[in-house]
């Protein structure tokens, strides 16, 4: 009866909404510089990121209404756009921290200015309860915490009311940045614990609809499937005061409608614009497009080594020489992609990641390699792509199909519906040739390799296995970037990826948002969501 109970308890809790939701939208809402109207393609499904099944758009709620111990800084890019800075970690709830000599303990001093919405101070007990929750509820939060070597509640120690310590089994460069991702957010445990039950010790049913945090914004209204509204918390002292008082995020499912609303000026900000629209917005010049290449993310063509002839390195390299890279960037990514082809060295000279692979379109070379592999006359294969990402994957697949046809490889296209995609591509890993788009939240090459090149790991949909890579990743993952060995190891990893190409990078995608000219301060984030705190409207 587990499921029944699960559903029933949820049903009871969600019937009653306990926070004083805004009953109306005050009349001064639009047309003034206090309110920001945001349009988004998909809605949120929970106010609690630790809950099972919480979708990606909901991450933004956590970002805006909760605080973390630390946060990433923001940097300005060459074109004036703003983006988060993965190398800069700033205090948030923690006013300072020290790392022990062995690097295995991080001790945080909590800022007395960190105050929950109900006026009580944020204490080390709240931090511990929240972190315990993140590692105990399982699912995605637990996996993300594990990336920072945090797996069990014993690692989180309350030293006193205002001092908190994280112990890790080994020293790792990933622990601190992992505390700045959306997952380890700090909940008001005194409030949340009131709603804990034996079946639900972490108050997931309560926090699903009733946030209890200390963040710069509060949620004042949530109409599922339609909109939700943030209102500024004027008592927030952990950063510059947010520039807008209220943010209305409206769910507009049709991309054409979102575009019309933006062009007409009825929406202030349009999050996550498709590449085609971003390009056209840019050329029309009526609205600002702000975008940055997504860190540690690549759109790749993956070849599955469990299927012949992709176990042959020559075939993989032949395909890497036969891809129409430039056409893909102009016709499928509409120029909103950073080229990842045409690199000049076979061995990388630096550890920039991602960096261009040493391949470019060269059909003669591709034919030669195919002949060497004994497949002079080509072969037949199936290229699968995700219908949920058809906006770039469909044109890309068609271009690849056409180009591979020229070297005798007959490609059949296989469209897979979004719901089935993860099972087929990532869990069962049974697609011979397919498109993949993994991006790592923590911006280190070895972190990318951990997920995408280690055998059995989720995003290694190529079933690639190389003992050298396995060892290199294990050795490097937690190593400090100052370690002299770090650069050597990463270069070696990248060289192997260049040579073996189980994943052939096509380009590094952009995350674009369009906004009215009077909206400033927008920054691109690795979590690909809107951080309202920095936005101003003039």
């Amino acid at each position: 009866m587990q499921r029944r109970k699960f559903l029933k308890t949820l049903g009871v809790a969600s019937g009653a909404s306990l926070i004083p939701f805004l009953k109306y939208v005050p009349a001064e809402a639009s047309g003034n510089n206090n309110t920001l109207i945001v349009v988004s393609g998909s809605g949120i499904n929970s106010l609690d990121l630790h809950r099972k099944g919480t979708n990606r758009p909901s991450y933004q709620v956590t970002v805006n209404i909760y605080d973390r111990l630390v946060r990433f800084g923001v940097k300005e890019l060459e074109d004036g756009s703003l983006a988060y800075d993965s190398t800069k970690i700033e205090p948030e709830v923690a006013e300072s921290w020290v790392v022990s000599n062995d690097g295995r303990s991080l001790t945080f001093k909590i800022n007395p200015d960190a105050i929950f919405w109900d006026g009580t101070p944020v204490t080390a007990y709240d931090v511990k309860w929240s972190f315990d929750r993140a590692v105990s509820l399982g699912g995605f939060p637990a996996v993300q915490m594990k990336a920072g070597s945090m797996t069990s509640p014993e690692q989180f120690v309350v030293i006193d009311e205002m001092t908190f310590r994280v112990d890790t089994p080994k020293s790792s460069k990933l622990t601190l940045p992992d505390l700045a991702v959306p997952i380890p957010f700090i909940i008001n445990s005194k409030v949340a614990k009131n709603y804990a039950t034996d079946d639900d010790p972490w108050s997931t049913e309560y926090l699903h609809k009733n946030p209890a945090g200390s963040g710069a914004f509060k949620i004042v209204r949530w109409d599922p499937g339609q909109q939700f509204i943030y209102e500024r918390n004027d008592n927030w002292l952990l950063g510059p005061k947010p520039g807008v008082k209220r943010v209305i995020v409206r769910e507009i499912p049709s991309a054409s409608t979102r575009r019309a609303l933006t062009e007409r000026g009825d929406a202030d900000l349009y999050m996550n614009v498709a590449a085609k629209d971003a390009k056209e917005f840019k050329s029309e010049g009526k609205v600002t497009v702000s975008g940055a290449p997504i860190d540690n993310c690549l759109h790749v063509l993956a070849l599955n080594l469990d299927y012949k002839p992709y176990d042959n390195i020559k075939v993989r390299q032949a395909i890497a020489y036969a891809l129409p890279y430039e056409d893909i960037i102009s016709a499928a990514a509409y120029g909103r992609g950073k080229p990842m082809f045409g690199g000049s060295e076979k061995i990388p000279t630096n550890i920039t990641w991602p960096q261009p692979f040493p391949y470019s379109t060269n059909l003669e070379k591709a034919k030669e390699l195919l002949a060497e592999a004994g497949l002079k006359n080509g072969f037949e294969t199936t290229l699968s792509f995700n219908l949920g990402l058809a906006d770039w994957q469909e044109p890309t697949s068609l271009l690849i199909q056409e180009s591979l046809g020229k070297i005798g490889i007959k490609v059949k296209l296989n469209k897979i519906p979004g719901a089935n995609w993860r099972t087929a591509a990532l869990v069962e890993k049974r697609l011979p040739m397919h498109l993949e788009n993994f991006g790592g939240w923590l911006n280190y090459p070895d972190y990318y390799f951990f997920w995408a090149y280690k055998n059995g790991h989720l995003f290694n949909s190529s079933n690639y296995k190389n003992t050298k890579v396995e060892n290199l990743v294990d050795d490097t993952m937690h190593m400090s970037t100052d370690d002299p060995q770090y650069e050597t190891n990463v270069k070696e990893m990248i060289a192997i990826a260049f040579e073996d190409v189980p994943r052939i990078p096509l380009y590094q995608p952009f995350l674009d948002s369009a906004m009215q000219k009077n909206v400033n301060g927008y920054a691109s984030w690795f979590h690909r969501q809107l951080d309202c705190r920095s936005i101003t409207k003039s």
Partner: protein, 340 residues
């Protein structure tokens, strides 16, 4: 028991097996959907272990029979489950979204009837005249233009270029608050609450999507009216009425129209059910928070509880609409007397 009452009770009884079959079918079909909800909902970075954990907590590790038993017991207790995509109880969501879809469909249908029935009558009355040709063109356009195209086209003209229509952002403007819920129909609720501003705001939001739907529904209604009227106008009783020197208006509206009402009503029933399904594209273009969008999103995610809830609601609604139409037909059929 009068034959009419007997007929009606008979129809009611017939509805029960269809609902039962729908419950069983929707349960089986959702489980045959490709895609694995445990994988989908376990999240972006979930590993094998957390997927299994998810599967257990969803109860999907049990046998189908066991799951079906739990589902039926829950249904009887009025618990339709929680939708994982939206995180809300299915019943809450359907109760909030169904009125949105119904309001749109009914309004679209009314617009459509208001245009199609007079048009059909006029076309039949002046066969092969300019009005008949006009009717033909409109009907062809209504059938052949894809519904999302009409929707986007209307948005482009009336919102984007002319700026006459309000922004297509759903049932009500961002600035106006929704009326206190009674029926769930914003137009009716705002009138009940005596808020004229809200009424006009929600009416303004309704016009474009309803016109899109209406244009689509125009074709079958106008065509059916025209052919039924043509048949009636050729009949013996109309010839007799004409010979008796009755006025043209009386012949047209009383004798011909009343006799054509049966096929028109049957068509209306079909068109209504059909529109509820066709809604989804209009809902998408106009950001209308209706059941169609809900169902599509649930299907994409293999969200069992939501899909089952949607299918069941639709089945109940279809049964109800057909039943109502049948009852109306028995009541208005001039060939059946009222007191037997």
């Amino acid at each position: 028991m009068t034959p009419k009452l007997f007929q009606i009770t008979g129809r009611l009884a017939q509805a029960i097996p269809s609902v039962l079959v729908v419950i069983i079918l929707s349960f089986i079909l959702t489980r045959m959907l490709p895609g694995d909800p445990a994988v989908y909902f376990a999240g972006d970075m979930a590993d094998k272990e957390s997927i299994e954990q998810m599967r257990r907590s969803l109860g999907l590790d049990r046998s189908w029979l066991e799951q079906f038993y739990i589902y039926i017991i829950n249904l009887i207790e009025g618990d339709w489950g929680i939708s994982l995509t939206t995180g809300q109880p299915v019943t809450d969501e359907l109760l909030a979204r169904l009125p949105a879809s119904l309001e749109l469909t009914i309004f679209g249908l009314i617009l459509s009837i208001a245009a199609a029935v007079p048009l059909g009558i006029a076309a039949a009355n002046h066969k092969d005249s300019w009005i008949d040709h006009f009717c033909r063109i409109l009907v062809t356009a209504g059938v052949s233009l894809p519904i999302f195209f009409t929707g986007l086209f209307l948005v482009y003209i009336f919102y984007f270029l002319l700026g006459w229509a309000p922004s297509p952002i759903g049932r009500i403007d961002i600035l106006v608050l929704s009326p206190p819920p009674v029926t769930g129909f914003y137009t009716i609720d705002s009138l009940l609450a005596n808020e004229s501003e809200t009424f006009f705001a929600s009416l303004a939001q309704l016009i474009l999507p309803a016109a899109t739907l209406g244009l689509f529904a125009l074709a079958p209604i106008a065509r059916m009216t025209r052919s039924a009227m043509l048949g009636a106008l050729k009949s013996d009783y109309v010839r007799t009425a004409r010979a008796s020197g009755l006025s043209r208006k009386k012949i047209l509206l009383t004798y011909a129209l009343q006799n054509s009402a049966l096929p028109i009503f049957t068509t209306l029933g079909m068109v209504f059910s059909f529109l509820l399904g066709a809604n989804v594209l209009v809902e998408k273009v106009f950001s209308w928070p209706g059941v169609g969008l809900y169902a599509i999103e649930a299907l994409i995610a293999s969200d069992y509880a939501a899909v089952q809830g949607f299918v069941l609601t639709m089945a109940l609604l279809f049964v109800f609409v057909n039943l109502t139409i049948d009852i109306i037909l028995t009541l208005i059929d001039p060939r059946v007397g009222f007191d037997d």
